[in-house]
Symmetry: C2
Subunit: 280 residues, 2 copies
């Protein structure tokens, strides 16, 4: 199945644009076992999401035990939510011969449906990712952190455009297989609108909602495509750590995820882009 | 020990600027076991190098078994070559809360002395790396691949400088703890010279010698500092796969590494920057 079809199916499964970031942090988790924690979060939210997004840094920081928990996490998602996407958030990217190995790791070892990549090395450097026609390649375009502007907002000589706009335009030109997407932080809705204009069709992964302070309403309106789709709104801490009670954190996560899914859908409805308007 | 002192000691240990990239590729290895292969390469080259540089992509592509081989590889280097640096080539970088976890992974889990990072998110995004005063933080500045120019050579408006030059200058400003270094490809000696001028003191990791076609003489002359130091010349395939004979590949790697170390030292001697001139 083409990646865009897979993504569309994932959106429709729960009528949801919500992606839950699985960033297990021992300092914040109400239980100590990473796999048990993730399983509880997945069981509680599987009916509210289009995707899960494990962030590899959180697993790597726990060593090989953490990576085994990641393996179990992906397997659990496949068993309880087979139509939901699993996005490996890894921001990988290097010269081509190395990117080829990273693509193998993300897609063949971990079996992710999509992965985030860093294209500082140019389109040629990430060709081994782009060649994977059935997988989503999500280019880190405009990040959500306070210091993102240092390089990404630098204006390129001879154009009226910032570096992040050049990346967005280049991403369009790399989209031969309909599998290219963008990461754009929710903390900068104006840049998001600019990027949506430059790349009207590319799916956008939107981190930065919740703990990082992104404005949901502004971001959803600016980020969806003309049909109100192709935006994955990612939330991690606000759902994972909705409660620190080891008995009820799953229930709190379920409530938090459902509320966020519904809030997004209400925003879509306001623009007449909600689920009742689609003929799926 | 401060990172720069650790690096200086590593250079002096074998009077060598050579870094061997440990990129085990099952398609090229003359033996099938990654750890056995790496051990043989390390045993054969430990007297010729200042550093080893395992590239994490090659281990991740082999799954958890690959990562266990990486663990064994680092332990073997520590036991046979305690003064040689181990650089985790991972090009990690993300928003700060994620970079914090990657820094833990690289330095606390794997125990690397240094790691390569991607600063597309700006200096603030990699602060959790930069805060590790005793570790080397090697910023991906100008890459060695053919498509590197797509973004890195874009000229920034209002300056006469390309993006990679801005990254090199920014790296200077992040160097509060004397632990910042740069990755600059050997395939572009002119850009290397420009970067050495902008950052006279920062250690440079130089991939791209050998299989990627970089010019050794031009790169060494352009890349060393005024004392003929602070350049790590990295070679992988030319040493690892010097022979495909399972009985003699170690000997071939030893010869290849020694030759390259000696060639670099001859180039240093030509500029009166060789080892006989230093008072170490």
């Amino acid at each position: 199945m083409r990646f865009l079809d897979r993504l569309d199916k994932a959106f429709r499964t729960n009528q949801s644009l919500l992606c839950v970031g699985l960033d297990p942090d021992p300092e914040l988790m109400p239980v100590s076992n990473v796999l048990s924690f993730n399983r509880a979060i997945i069981d509680a939210t599987a009916n509210s999401v289009c995707a899960y997004k494990p962030n590899l840094a959180f697993y790597e920081a726990l060593g090989i035990a953490g990576l085994k928990a990641l393996e179990g996490t992906v397997a659990h998602i496949r068993s309880v939510a087979p139509d939901v996407l699993v996005i490996g958030d890894s921001k990988r990217g290097d010269v081509g011969s190395t990117s080829r190995k990273y693509a193998q790791a993300m897609f063949d070892v971990w079996g992710f449906d999509a992965t985030t990549v860093n294209a500082y090395g140019g389109g040629e450097s990430i060709d081994p990712f782009l060649e994977r026609k059935d997988k989503g390649i999500i280019i880190w375009c405009r990040s959500s952190n306070p210091g993102a502007s240092e390089f990404q907002d630098q204006s390129i000589a001879g154009t009226d455009q910032a570096l992040f706009e050049h990346v967005a335009k280049a991403a369009n030109s790399w989209n031969h297989h309909g599998n290219v997407c963008l990461v754009v932080g929710a903390t900068y809705p104006e840049q998001l609108a600019t990027i949506r204009e430059l790349s009207p069709d590319l799916p956008i992964l939107l981190p930065g909602i919740g703990a990082q302070g992104g404005d949901l309403q502004a971001s959803v309106k600016a980020g969806v495509d003309v049909n109100g789709r192709n935006l994955m709104v990612s939330s991690s801490r606000g759902i994972l750590y909705a409660s620190d009670d080891p008995k009820t954190f799953g229930q709190a996560a379920a409530t938090s995820a459902r509320k966020l899914r519904d809030s997004i859908n209400t925003i879509l409805d306001e623009d007449n882009k909600g689920w009742r308007k689609t003929t799926s």
